[in-house]
Subunit: 325 residues, 4 copies
Amino acid sequence: MFATRSFSLLCRRSAVSAWRNTSQSAAKKRLDISGIYPPIATPFTQSEDVDYQRLDDNLKKYSNLPFRGLVVQGSNGEYPYLTPEERVQVVKRVKQTLPEDQLLMAGSGCESTRATIQMSQQMADAGADCLLVVTPCFYRGRMDSRALINHYTKVADSSPVPVVLYSVPANTGLDLPVDAIIQLSQHPNIVGLKDSGGDISRIALVVQKTRSQGFQVLAGSAGFLMAAYAVGAVGGVCALANVLGQQVCDLAQLCVSGRWDEARELQYRLIEPNTAVTRQYGVPALKQAMEWFGYHGGVCRSPLQPLSKADLEQLQVKFSSNGWL
Amino acid sequence: MFATRSFSLLCRRSAVSAWRNTSQSAAKKRLDISGIYPPIATPFTQSEDVDYQRLDDNLKKYSNLPFRGLVVQGSNGEYPYLTPEERVQVVKRVKQTLPEDQLLMAGSGCESTRATIQMSQQMADAGADCLLVVTPCFYRGRMDSRALINHYTKVADSSPVPVVLYSVPANTGLDLPVDAIIQLSQHPNIVGLKDSGGDISRIALVVQKTRSQGFQVLAGSAGFLMAAYAVGAVGGVCALANVLGQQVCDLAQLCVSGRWDEARELQYRLIEPNTAVTRQYGVPALKQAMEWFGYHGGVCRSPLQPLSKADLEQLQVKFSSNGWL
Amino acid sequence: MFATRSFSLLCRRSAVSAWRNTSQSAAKKRLDISGIYPPIATPFTQSEDVDYQRLDDNLKKYSNLPFRGLVVQGSNGEYPYLTPEERVQVVKRVKQTLPEDQLLMAGSGCESTRATIQMSQQMADAGADCLLVVTPCFYRGRMDSRALINHYTKVADSSPVPVVLYSVPANTGLDLPVDAIIQLSQHPNIVGLKDSGGDISRIALVVQKTRSQGFQVLAGSAGFLMAAYAVGAVGGVCALANVLGQQVCDLAQLCVSGRWDEARELQYRLIEPNTAVTRQYGVPALKQAMEWFGYHGGVCRSPLQPLSKADLEQLQVKFSSNGWL
Amino acid sequence: MFATRSFSLLCRRSAVSAWRNTSQSAAKKRLDISGIYPPIATPFTQSEDVDYQRLDDNLKKYSNLPFRGLVVQGSNGEYPYLTPEERVQVVKRVKQTLPEDQLLMAGSGCESTRATIQMSQQMADAGADCLLVVTPCFYRGRMDSRALINHYTKVADSSPVPVVLYSVPANTGLDLPVDAIIQLSQHPNIVGLKDSGGDISRIALVVQKTRSQGFQVLAGSAGFLMAAYAVGAVGGVCALANVLGQQVCDLAQLCVSGRWDEARELQYRLIEPNTAVTRQYGVPALKQAMEWFGYHGGVCRSPLQPLSKADLEQLQVKFSSNGWL
């Protein structure tokens, strides 16, 4: 890898490019969330209980990488498969191991506003530095801007720690509308957005319309990380960072330091592995790839199934053909 | 209404047409779930707590209608907004009031298999006669036939009471595949399907392929209830039955007794009100309409919002223009 | 087959059930389009020229079946692959062979209003009794009710023969809105709708809202033909009728005469073959199946490709497992 | 505007960045299509005839801008509304006015392969330098990689001038699959792709997989032009360039010369106007905006309707709030 350790360590807290600092100068002081986060997977035992020992092992390895922090209970953490108690317990466990200079961003989104408020409180108590709140979606036909603004405002009003909006249409079938984001960006306790939809025009538009507030946009996938930085995003929450954490941080650092030609070459090599562990083969593939790179992945909770043999081979090709295996 | 009370009372347990009895003769003996069910709404107080008193009031009124039973914790019950404890508690409360000859079909679906198994056990303990199990959907890209067959088989294997499959693509973004339904229809503890998608060719195909097993198909909406009966469904779980319960039962009875011309005229008048309280304006509209017809509807849990004034007027028109208000 | 020849011959012109005659009594006198139509395929030579001789052979065979008429240049006729001259020429050729008591319904839809008007005139001159006009769709984002009402009104105003609306979302990505249909049903030169979308609630709603005008709804597929009759449709334009023409007419006749139990059994056996020759494997499958049943199918124009060997086998199973091969 | 005229003139033929030249060094020599193209609108008279005089007026103005060339008969040219004769005639007319150093890229795509081949020949004869060939789409369920590779190969084999692939899912409901693009990139007469879908990971992947062939990717919209350049695209076919031609060229030049911070600021201001004249309000909005900026826009052919008053006002705001009006 062309990026050395010392080089990429810089990425932890300084990763705000010049133009953004300038544009934020007049804005309210907000928690700086810029940088790279893996949305960590939740290891399970063969009987599908949370395997806290293996979780600790992974966390120890991640602590050596220049992440801005960890996302706990993102989509890749199988949070919909955990009980409320498990969700909080995992956050506590991560907090014990996390380096002091890293952020713990905890996914506290539930379907109802009251459950989200309660979970947000519990996760803050458990040590979360900020909260990633997914759009409620079951009644998606009624989840218009009015409902979503109302939901997020109530959650942010009551949350002890800052809130990050989270739009992930592949899972929720719902894109948080831009007008809702713009209005919510004015809330003092809402600091940014994780956008996993990947519509790059939309990401640019959100940056344009919210940067005067100091609102920060994170790419929700390594597949469009470079393009997102190009249009003004300040970081990413990338499933692939569970597997190729150093490389995703390197890509971010190349973007932040304006070395776009090198960034482009690295970005190319990450697209296929990224697609494979996200929309193509999902969490089971992410966990399988983690095993190849020295982490504990293991089984998913049912109903998620292990990969078929054919899919497994295809997954391997996506890494090996890009020089990672 | 042309259907008299005594006439439609017949509909409770006898609603299996001749052709179906014949075709089922060789099949395993299964719980007869044929007939009409309202998927009951959950009343809340102004502070959004479950209002058990108002729930009791509604149940008392429903007990005078010729329903085959009640569905508790269907999509219209706002089950994703209830805690696991509330879900069980509501089932218990309904059981206390339900007439002995009616079925309590409880929605026990959760995202993970283990949570669904646990909830199914708890609901059976609380008095459920059978369980309505929605497709898990958050990782819909991985919810193929293999995963869903695995999920439902484990749930049905362990459930103390029969299981009804539940496909509701408008909410889940996922249609339970026909090949999975056909395979699952052979499980002795899986007795039927509630299909809310409304693809009438698909419903007919499922009936054709599963009737030799005694598998029973319920229409998931009053909008296509007559057509579903025409192609072999044996009942319906219809949101509109919360509001126009007698009329939905009348429609079912007309179909069962082969009075198709009368059925058609009644069906016409139910389509617009049905669409209005389901996909058009959703649960807030259903609860509003319940108020007009003497039931307690009231507020939804946030993030569901009350109807706007304009929507409210439109909703009223859909009922009045069809002669119901 | 349980339906005898003489029995089903009745279906040609008398196929309007009692309830409909009554409801139409006050309506304007319109061309009666009730009954079954195959949307005929266009045979090509190996060099992909229109094979008029083979077309004649097919027409001769179809003339022995109790169709209400033929649809020429529907989606299954590969009309988007024909030149304007070929489209008119095929209509002329069909007119020469068509029995006098059958209708020639010609597909005259083009993307622009002016081209549609011109093609409608030419097809009427070539002998079309009425015109099937598909929704323009390339700029589907702009094809709202206003645009579509404007389009159809201009076409119907100028057309020498009656117009049938045609909504086929699988090909166009566009559903003709119900409010547009209702308004257009009042045009004296618009006599009906072919609905290929198959949303049975929508079909029922359209019948309810337009029957006082004498507007007639045709099912666009044999897969939901019985359900469509059940809710008030008066016929069907069914790709499968190119292959199993007698059987589709039999199904229609059973519905019209209220023999629903027999209809249901026949409907079941037509669903899988129908799906196979339409949305599953498309026109190449329809043409292949035609060969099996004594018609000329042959190649499609490129870019439509012949079926793969695996698809071909699956296609055959869909017919044989339902007792047709 | 910060970009001076002389500066941006450089963009016409030299717009290939260093990294790309290097990677192409071993590739076959191909027509260089890098740069910016407006997909020109087709002016009509009030009676909806092609208004060649107004077309000439527009062309004269465009000739003063640093375009790489013009796209004639793209989606914004209302090509589906023109007769085959008109399509060729418009190409001829453009050729008469076009500066010698600019490319005429003509849209020759039709639904059938044979019509596309014929149209390609006619357009080449009329003066087209290369052809933009949209994916056939009416039978989109059958338009898999096999069919599309077959189609494009036949077209490219017979075309006298180079072919550019064209994927525009908003209009066609079909995304040209990446594996098909990769295979087609090896054809000596296929030089590039216009991608209007805007999935930036996909665009990057296509560049990665085809650049060794010298295959060139053009962004299909100004909304993601900067991001596309960032990941390796070499130009754009941008509806907005009909209105803000200089500005789109400026953006391209800033990207090519690595002035990303300036590019980003310009990109922001183009997103809302771009969305407004494309997916939001479509061709009628593009033509309206052209009027504001000194070009002839005028009416569209029916069924496209003029904007409503409310939409018109919104459109104006999208330009004025970004400082263009």
